[in-house]
């Protein structure tokens, strides 16, 4: 197995404003969102980050996608360091999270071409890929409709294909099925499995056990910003369901579930 993503000792703290302190119900001025987090993902696998709300999944993925810089630690993405060569990392990954919005004024067609251009995809290649993506997700019928007028599911599909204009080897998806109805969610998970079959490496974050069970080869559990368990799905589950194992590990690490 060839490692393609190597995360070592990632740490991220946020300074909390007075307003944020109130929302988080804390007096501390600094929030440690991710704490000394390490894991490795191998080429061609689907790696799942599992954690409850506020565990630090999104923060971890944002660091991997070079949107934010880690306070400590580094990650090597297909040979490129997120700290030293963020621009190179961006060429290697496709990142999708609900934070990334598309300009509602433009059509899927325009946006696809625009992002292809930013990624430097040759025009012919871009056109072919666009056609196959649009057909697969049924975007072709809405290609000239402004994004603002599309349904949530269709918007999500457009976001998805736009994040993959450059056919990256590593795909990082934060909560890929969040807010989607069961049909659309299935289209997305099927697509992820197809990508895996094509040899892509996929990192997904979720708090949905069934999604992990369905598509992931290996899983990392994050609690309060720390990686508490990281192994193959079989090894972690050890004959039980993922859900049962999650609560066992949670209690073991945090004491009681009510603490938080």
């Amino acid at each position: 197995m060839e490692p393609i993503l190597n995360v070592t000792g990632l740490k991220k703290t946020f300074k909390l404003s007075a307003k944020q302190q109130k929302i988080e119900k804390t007096n501390e001025k600094v929030k440690t969102a991710v704490n000394n987090l390490s894991f490795t993902a191998y080429r061609g696998e689907v790696f799942g980050l599992l954690g409850s709300n506020g565990a630090g999944k999104t923060t971890t993925l944002r660091m991997l996608a070079t949107l934010i810089k880690p306070d400590e630690g580094d990650a090597i993405v297909d040979g490129a360091s997120i700290v030293n060569h963020p621009e190179l990392v961006r060429t290697k990954i496709g990142f999708l999270t609900s934070e990334l919005k598309l300009e509602e004024f433009f059509t899927p067609n325009y946006l696809y071409d625009f992002f292809s251009e930013l990624h430097g995809v040759p025009a012919k290649e871009a056109a072919e890929r666009k056609q196959s993506y649009f057909e697969r997700f049924g975007i072709d019928k809405f290609a000239e409709v402004k994004v603002g007028n599309l349904s949530t599911g269709m918007k999500q599909k457009v976001s998805l294909v736009v994040s993959l204009v450059h056919d990256p080897d590593i795909i990082i998806f934060d909560e890929p099925t969040n807010g989607l109805d069961v049909l659309t969610a299935k289209v997305v998970t099927d697509f992820l499995q197809d990508l895996k079959e094509k040899g892509k490496t996929i990192i997904v974050s979720t708090h949905i056990f069934s999604l992990i069970e369905k598509i992931c080869d290996r899983v990392g559990m994050i609690i309060n910003g720390r990686m508490v368990a990281c192994d193959t799905l079989e090894a972690i589950c050890a004959g039980k369901t993922l859900e049962e194992r999650f609560f066992e590990i949670y209690e073991e690490k945090v004491g009681t579930i009510d603490e938080k």
């Binding site: 996608a65 990142f95 509602e104």
Partner: protein, 392 residues
């Protein structure tokens, strides 16, 4: 990744020009507003300065031709005959607004007229009319008399000239108050319109993208952040410049009615050079304003926050635009032209009041370009700053 700058510019243009409402409010409106406002101002001035209906002007005439006497007597002017040695005295009293009109016909005007051969190429007999444009009554009768003589001249197949000499036939003093007033009002209005056009594009494009979460989508692409900053500044400046150009055209179109109505100024006094320099000042001012507002917008979390942070700047701009009214020799100091915004105001003021010095304009445009460049660099740094881009 130079072409990414271009990609961003193309996208910004597609966004802007694809939206008819935006094009209308940002580009067409300012010009229209300037035009309507200035023209209205011009009309109000005209009404204020037109003379009372029953006013009889006091005119002085040398060598009044008997043939023309009945025609001239139809004007609301009481004519007094004078001799050549009185001319100086009359000109003084014109300047002092006691007399209204001084007309000098050549001796034997009619005889000369009849013997003049148009095809000879010789100078035609010349009639000189002096008036004082700072006095509305004087301007009025001047217009009437000139029109009268011109139609007479036309009927005689251009056998004489009016005011063909090199003299300054308008005896209004240089310090004419009305002209000064306009030189102060125009820059203020122009600056206000320029500022509002910049404020209508930059926060929308930069703080707006942050607010709507679309800038993060750009930031995960391999594009350099400097390409984004440059692309934004260039495209926004172009759009704001179009808007500025619209204000400029509005100003030019309304100047005749604005200036024509008031004595003392006449658009024909502005040369091509004045117009070009004014345009240069306007465009460089737009660059400064766009980059300044872009930086503020890049820090703001929302369009609303960006606009409200900019509002003290709006007030500052208006206050600075009023500085020339306070006068003072300090304003002639070249050092003043190194200060952004003030330099633009001073330049516009000096261009409108015919006191423009090319060095001042060059310093202004040069400094504005330097400021805009520095701020574009600053914007790149902000796009690179996680704190500015993603703070909650």
């Amino acid at each position: 990744m130079k072409n990414n700058t271009l990609t961003i510019i193309k996208k910004e243009f597609a966004r802007f020009f694809g939206d008819k409402r935006m094009v209308f409010t940002t580009i067409l409106m300012p010009g229209l507003m300037v035009y309507i406002m200035y023209t209205l101002m011009g009309n109000i001035m005209t009404n204020q300065f037109t003379s009372a209906d029953n006013y009889v002007a006091s005119g002085y005439v040398q060598n009044m031709p008997a043939e023309l006497e009945p025609v001239l007597n139809e004007l609301p002017v009481e004519w007094n005959d004078i001799t050549s040695d009185e001319i100086d005295t009359i000109q003084t009293s014109l300047t002092e607004k006691e007399a209204d009109l001084l007309v000098i016909f050549p001796e034997n005007f009619v005889a000369e007229l009849n013997s003049y051969d148009v095809s000879s190429g010789m100078a035609a007999p010349n009639v000189e009319i002096y008036h004082n444009s700072a006095k509305p009554e004087s301007s009025d009768v001047n217009v009437m008399l000139t029109a009268l003589l011109e139609s007479y001249e036309a009927s005689l197949s251009n056998r004489f000239d009016i005011n063909a000499g090199q003299n300054d036939y308008d005896t209004a003093s240089d310090q004419d108050m009305t002209g000064q007033l306009f030189a102060m009002l125009l820059p203020m209005l122009l600056m206000t319109f320029l500022f509002s056009s910049c404020i209508s594009v930059a926060p929308e494009s930069i703080a707006g993208e942050k607010e709507r979460g679309t800038i993060a989508t750009l930031l995960v692409t391999p594009m350099k952040r400097s390409s984004l900053a440059l692309g934004k500044i260039i495209s926004l400046s172009c759009i704001a410049m179009l808007s500025g150009l619209s204000s400029f055209i509005g100003t030019m179109l309304s100047l005749p009615s604005l200036m024509g109505s008031t004595s003392g100024l006449d658009t024909s006094y502005y040369t091509m050079k004045d117009y070009l320099l004014l345009l240069g000042v306007i465009l460089s001012t737009v660059l400064v304003l766009v980059s300044l507002i872009s930086i503020i917008s890049a820090f703001a979390k929302s369009i609303k926050e960006a606009s409200s942070t900019c509002s003290p700047l709006t007030i500052l701009t208006i206050v600075v635009s009023l500085v020339p009214m306070m006068g003072g020799d300090m304003l002639k100091n070249l050092g003043m032209f190194f200060l952004p915004i003030l330099n633009s105001v001073l330049c516009m003021n000096s261009i409108f009041s015919f006191q423009m010095e090319v060095t001042q304009v060059i310093v202004t445009i040069g400094m504005n370009l330097v400021y805009a460049g520095a701020m574009t660099f600053g914007l790149t740094r902000i796009f690179n700053s996680e704190k500015a881009m993603f703070s909650k």
